[in-house]
Symmetry: C2
Subunit: 220 residues, 2 copies
DNA sequence: GCAGGAGTAAAACAAATGTTTAAATCATGC
DNA sequence: GCATGATTTAAACATTTGTTTTACTCCTGC
């Protein structure tokens, strides 16, 4: 955390993101942000109207950088197979949620997202349409391609939930996973392994589910 | 929420459980508990030493009743297959987390557990050894039986995390799931369907993973 | 009946905390 | 150089909130 003499506003944003992520909205005090950013308390109300607007600004920034740096089709070769696209999707989720260049896992802003899942703030609603719903649609497209057989998209949504659920659980429950099974607690160095596992597990899950739903009479 | 003239202490416990679950520890005020329980604020500090002890008492009660009413081997026939045992395990998780007789899903105490996963309180550590670790061991046993082939238990832990992860994600992210895919947001009436899906998906996942364990190299 | 303790109530206390005020300082254009 | 507006600061303000105090009520055992 370099405290470069960046502009006051920038220092507030940087520090507040960490603190909101670490402690949540209510537990975060303007005074702690001010202290860590080496800024007067009133400067925060001057640059951002109030605590809630500051939070909204940070949430917006977190989503933008996360999905810009780690889009759901991150690092795909041309003409990828649906399986490869799923792998990229899962890897992107892990890196977005957990890597240092992303939301920094539990220590950082990943917690902020996790808290929003649990109790969405007013500021979160906007993120839904802009980032989350397109992301969901991408995943459902991928799953549809893997299943191959024609299938209503509603049938595929639970698969998407299961896949996203695994990824997010690693972020949400990292502290407990660390106590229960330390090797599998996400950290900067095991993201590839964890993502690879979730990918394999999910491919198997999709296969099992698609076996139960591909019963229409169009299979020759 | 019947406000029977139960003892003051009991009314405090009942109401505080709901409020802590709904709002989290910091956002919950003694005064709101007092008001909803129709009790004087000082009575809370009288019966429970302070806010934190009250919270600890509630956490203990929540875990106890949850795992007593919905044990991991809930409703199994004699001589169950490992697959049946997994189904019972998953169903128990859904009912424990979401049903009205359990932790009442998101509206109720399920959120309390979700918050603990994200940032465990001091009171939570005791719950780990008493409830969560045995629960994890039960699941790993079941998975080992399903895989059948001899396999170090460390290899099976990620499967357990993926399965538990799906179940808990439904509890943690219920508000967002409701916005993203309303039919699949957990409620009192669709728990069987959701649990069944997670079961099938997970069986497929275990199969895929065990294929990579038993036949090294070459992934799908 | 009543002494004594358990339970409850109203009010006060003290600390934390978001916000505002008003003055001081800085930067920029002229 | 200076006037003007933007920024920063210290202090004050108002509210919330956990806790304690003190007095009152109710019940139980004798």
């Amino acid at each position: 955390m370099d405290e470069q003499p960046a502009s006051t506003k920038e220092r507030i944003l940087a520090v507040a993101g960490d603190i909101f992520g670490e402690k949540g909205f209510k537990d975060t005090t303007i005074r702690l942000i001010a202290e860590r950013a080496r800024v007067n308390v009133a400067a925060i109300n001057y640059h951002f109207r109030d605590k809630e607007s500051l939070y909204a600004a940070i949430l917006e920034e977190v989503f933008r950088t996360g999905f810009t740096r780690f889009p759901g089709d991150m690092g795909l070769p041309p003409q990828p197979s649906p399986q490869q696209r799923l792998r990229a999707f899962v890897r992107a989720m892990f890196y977005r949620l957990q890597s240092r260049e992303g939301w920094g896992g539990l220590a950082g802003r990943g917690r902020l997202i996790a808290r929003e899942l649990l109790s969405p703030s007013p500021a979160f609603e906007a993120m839904l349409d802009r980032y989350i719903k397109p992301h969901r649609d991408l995943l459902v497209d991928i799953i549809a391609d893997i299943v191959a057989a024609p299938c209503p998209r509603e049938k595929l949504l639970p698969c998407a939930i299961s896949i996203i659920g695994q990824c997010i659980y690693y972020a949400v429950a990292a502290p407990v996973i660390g106590l229960i099974s330390p090797v599998n607690a996400p950290n900067e160095h095991n993201l590839d392994r964890l993502a690879e596992f979730v990918w394999v597990f999910s491919l198997g899950g999709i296969a099992a589910v698609s076996a139960t739903i591909t019963t229409p009479k169009e299979t020759p």
